[in-house]
């Protein structure tokens, strides 16, 4: 399950999806809107995405994780549009026979999402708004890019 949606996320849905009789461990990661960032008082985040490509990249992350670790299932759902304080913008769930694989694959997924998936957040803070990453972000390295475009 690899989706970009405009509606609130439901951790039950992801956990149910990855639950397997052959799995002994499920890990999840939930990214939520924090009320502060770099000294700014955050009001909300507003996410935009290139949805078809984002879902394709999320699937690619799932495929890569399955090659690296012995996992059963993975689900990633990213919300776009406005996400209020303490609401979830992204949820990841991974099931595996053993917990080490589940933890590592879950961590891998969120790190990859932040590097390669075409989703952007605008931070709406007291006194202004800013597209995060555009000011300070680094693009993929040449090596990453070669890998991606192969």
């Amino acid at each position: 399950m690899f989706r970009v949606v405009r509606t609130p996320l439901d951790i039950h849905e992801l956990v149910r999806y990855v639950t397997e009789a052959s799995a002994g461990a499920i890990t999840t990661f939930i990214g939520t809107t924090r009320n502060n960032n770099e000294g700014r008082k955050v009001i909300a985040l507003d996410y935009d995405a290139y949805p078809e490509m984002a879902e394709k990249e999320l699937r690619r992350i799932g495929d890569d994780a399955k090659k690296k670790w012995n996992i059963e299932r993975m689900a990633i759902v990213h919300r776009i549009g406005p996400v209020q304080i303490a609401e979830a913008s992204v949820m990841i769930a991974v099931s595996a026979a053993h917990r080490d694989d589940a933890f590592q694959a879950c961590r891998f997924a969120i790190e990859e999402i932040k590097k390669t998936v075409p989703i952007w957040k605008k931070e709406v803070f007291e006194g202004g708004e800013v597209w995060i990453g555009t000011q300070t972000g680094q693009p993929l390295s040449e090596a990453d890019l070669r890998q991606r475009s192969s």
Binding site: E52, M53, P118, K121, G133
Partner: protein
């Protein structure tokens, strides 16, 4: 040839449109398209150095040759999660 360009996030705000169609001479590359867009929308220039390029939902290099009806997206640094 004609290509579709979709804009997201900061680029959409700078351009003021989510999608445009652009007429290009045959053999044009992604870099050529970007140069043409910058002339049309000067506000795009400041974010140039940090862009990635996607054609038909795959990352490509700037010297990638475009074909008729390609979907091109210029991707500023991502910040999902």
């Amino acid at each position: 040839m004609k290509v579709t360009v979709k804009f997201f996030a900061i680029l959409r705000e700078r351009v003021g449109a989510a999608e445009i169609t652009k007429e290009l001479s045959d053999g044009s590359t992604v870099a050529d398209l970007w140069r043409a867009l910058k002339e049309e929308y000067p506000k795009l220039a400041p974010i140039e150095t940090r862009l990635l390029y996607a054609v038909n939902q795959n990352y490509v290099k700037p010297d990638h040759a475009l074909k008729d009806r390609d979907e091109v997206v210029f991707i500023p640094p991502v910040s999902g999660g």
